[in-house]
C-alpha cells in the first residue's frame, strides 16, 4: 500500500509526463521554428521533472518499480494526472493557454514545496523553479499577444478559454494525499486567480465566472483523451515487454 508521499509523487510525475507528451506532439508542426523549439524544450523540462518524481517514487515503493515501469505499464485508472494536461492541443492558442494555466499553478506550488519537510521533494521543486519561471513568462506573453492581437487570434483565445477553463477548478481541489502532505491549495488558488486576472486584463480577455468545474483526474478518473495518449505513449513497452535500447 503506497503512502501519501508516494501517491503524491505519482500525481506530480503523471501530470508532468502527460503534459510533456502532449506538447511534444507539436514537434515539426510548430507555427514557426523558434516556437517549435520552445514548446519541445518545455516538453523536455517537464519530462525531466517527471523523471525526478518517478525515480523518487520508485525508490520509495522499493518493490522493483522503476521510472520506466511506472510510466509505461500503469493503466488509465492508476494515472493521477490533472485533467487539464490531458486535454487536446487544439490550435496554438489553446496549447499556450493550457501551458499558462498549468505553469502559473506549478510555479506557485513549487514555491510552496520548496519549504516542504521532505527534503528530496523540496530539492526537486527548487531545481524545477528556474525552468518553470521561464514557462510562465513564455506562455503569459503568448496569451497577451494572441488575446490582444487580431480579431482572429482574439476569437481563438475565447474559444480556448471556453475549452479549458472548466478543468482549472481541479487544480485547487485537494485530494486526500495532498491534504495528508500538508499542501495548501487555498492560498495557491488565490494568487493564481490574481495573476491570471492580471494577464487576462492585459490580453483583453474575459475571466469566466460561474463555470461548473470538472474533476477526477487526481483520483484516476479521466476524460477519454487519456486513453489515446497512453495508447501511443505505452505502445512500445506493451508490445515488446522489457525492451531496451
Amino acid at each position: 500500500m503506497d503512502n501519501s508521499l508516494t501517491i503524491y509523487l505519482l500525481h506530480l510525475a503523471d501530470t508532468t509526463l502527460i503534459l510533456s507528451q502532449k506538447n511534444s506532439e507539436w514537434c515539426g508542426h510548430g507555427p514557426i521554428l523558434e516556437q517549435d523549439i520552445a514548446i519541445t524544450n518545455i516538453s523536455l523540462d517537464l519530462l525531466g521533472q517527471a523523471r525526478n518524481f518517478y525515480q523518487y517514487a520508485a525508490a520509495l515503493k522499493n518493490d522493483g518499480s522503476t521510472e520506466d515501469s511506472l510510466a509505461y505499464l500503469r493503466t488509465e485508472r492508476e494515472f493521477k494526472n490533472l485533467l487539464l494536461v490531458e486535454q487536446q492541443n487544439g490550435d496554438w492558442g489553446q496549447t499556450i493557454l493550457r501551458q499558462y494555466f498549468f505553469s502559473q499553478y506549478q510555479l506557485l506550488l513549487f514555491q510552496q514545496l520548496q519549504q516542504h519537510s521532505d527534503e528530496q521533494l523540496a530539492a526537486i521543486a527548487t531545481k524545477a523553479i528556474k525552468e518553470t519561471t521561464y514557462h510562465v513568462r513564455w506562455s503569459s506573453e503568448w496569451v497577451i499577444r494572441l488575446g490582444d492581437g487580431t480579431d482572429e487570434s482574439h476569437n481563438r483565445m475565447l474559444h480556448a478559454i471556453d475549452e479549458l477553463w472548466r478543468y482549472c477548478g481541479e487544480l485547487f481541489e485537494a485530494a486526500d494525499y495532498e491534504t495528508a502532505m500538508g499542501i495548501d491549495l487555498t492560498s495557491i488558488k488565490q494568487t493564481w486567480t490574481e495573476k491570471v486576472t492580471a494577464v487576462f486584463d492585459e490580453a483583453k480577455l474575459p475571466v469566466p465566472q460561474n463555470v461548473f468545474m470538472q474533476s477526477g483526474g487526481k483520483k484516476g478518473v479521466h476524460t477519454e483523451q487519456l486513453g489515446y495518449i497512453l495508447t501511443e505513449l505505452q505502445y512500445l513497452q506493451r508490445t515488446y515487454p522489457g525492451a531496451k535500447w
Binding site: 524544450n41 521533472q49 527548487t126 531545481k127 528556474k130 497577451i144
Partner: protein, 172 residues
C-alpha cells in the same frame, strides 16, 4: 572535496580520482570537462568502492545520463571496477558553479559564456534581452534570434558587427 580525510594516502587516492574526472568531457560541448561545469560535487572512497556524487544541470538535460556513463567508463579504464554515480539535486546547480577556466574555454570555442548576473529567472514579461558579448569580435551589439539554441541550455544570438551567429550559454 571531503575535508575530513586524515590519511594522506586516502586523499592521494581521491586526488587521483579527481584527475581522472578532469578528463571526462561534456558530450555536447567537448571543450568543457565535468569539473569545468561544476557538476561533480564530491568523491567518496568506501573501501574498494568509489562513489562520485554529481548534480544535474538542467532538469531535463539529456546529456547527464551519458556523462554518468562516461564517468564510470573513465574510472573503469583506470582500474576502478566498483563505481557508483549518485545524482544529488540539492543545492540546485547554477551557472555560478562553472569555473572561470570553463567560461574562457567556452569563449574560445565560439560559445558566449553565461553572464555573471542571472537573467533567466527574471519573471518580468516582455523584458529587454540581456546584453551578450560576441565571442568572436567582442562587440556588445548583438541580438537574440531565439531563446533556445542547439540545446536547452543555450540561446541563439547574432552579432550585428561581425554578423556571425553564435550560441549563448544561458544563466541558470
Amino acid at each position: 572535496m571531503n575535508n575530513e580525510q586524515l590519511h594522506i594516502d586516502t586523499s592521494a587516492s581521491e586526488q587521483k580520482i579527481w584527475s581522472i574526472l578532469s578528463t571526462v568531457v561534456d558530450p555536447e560541448v567537448p571543450v568543457l570537462t565535468v569539473l569545468d561545469l561544476g557538476i561533480v560535487r564530491e568523491v567518496q572512497i568506501n573501501g574498494s568502492e568509489v562513489e562520485v556524487i554529481i548534480t544535474p544541470t538542467y532538469t531535463g538535460c539529456p546529456a547527464m545520463d551519458m556523462i554518468a556513463m562516461n564517468i564510470r567508463l573513465a574510472l573503469a579504464e583506470q582500474g576502478y571496477k566498483t563505481v557508483k554515480v549518485t545524482s544529488v539535486l540539492s543545492p540546485a546547480w547554477t551557472t555560478d558553479w562553472m569555473t572561470e577556466a570553463g567560461k574562457e574555454k567556452l569563449k574560445q570555442y565560439g560559445i558566449a559564456p553565461p553572464n555573471p548576473k542571472q537573467q533567466v529567472c527574471n519573471d518580468k514579461l516582455f523584458a529587454a534581452n540581456e546584453a551578450v558579448q560576441c565571442p568572436h569580435c567582442n562587440s556588445y551589439h548583438t541580438h537574440r534570434i531565439s531563446e533556445f539554441g542547439s540545446t536547452a541550455c543555450k540561446a541563439l544570438y547574432q552579432c550585428d558587427e561581425c554578423k556571425e551567429p553564435f550560441d549563448y550559454f544561458k544563466c541558470h
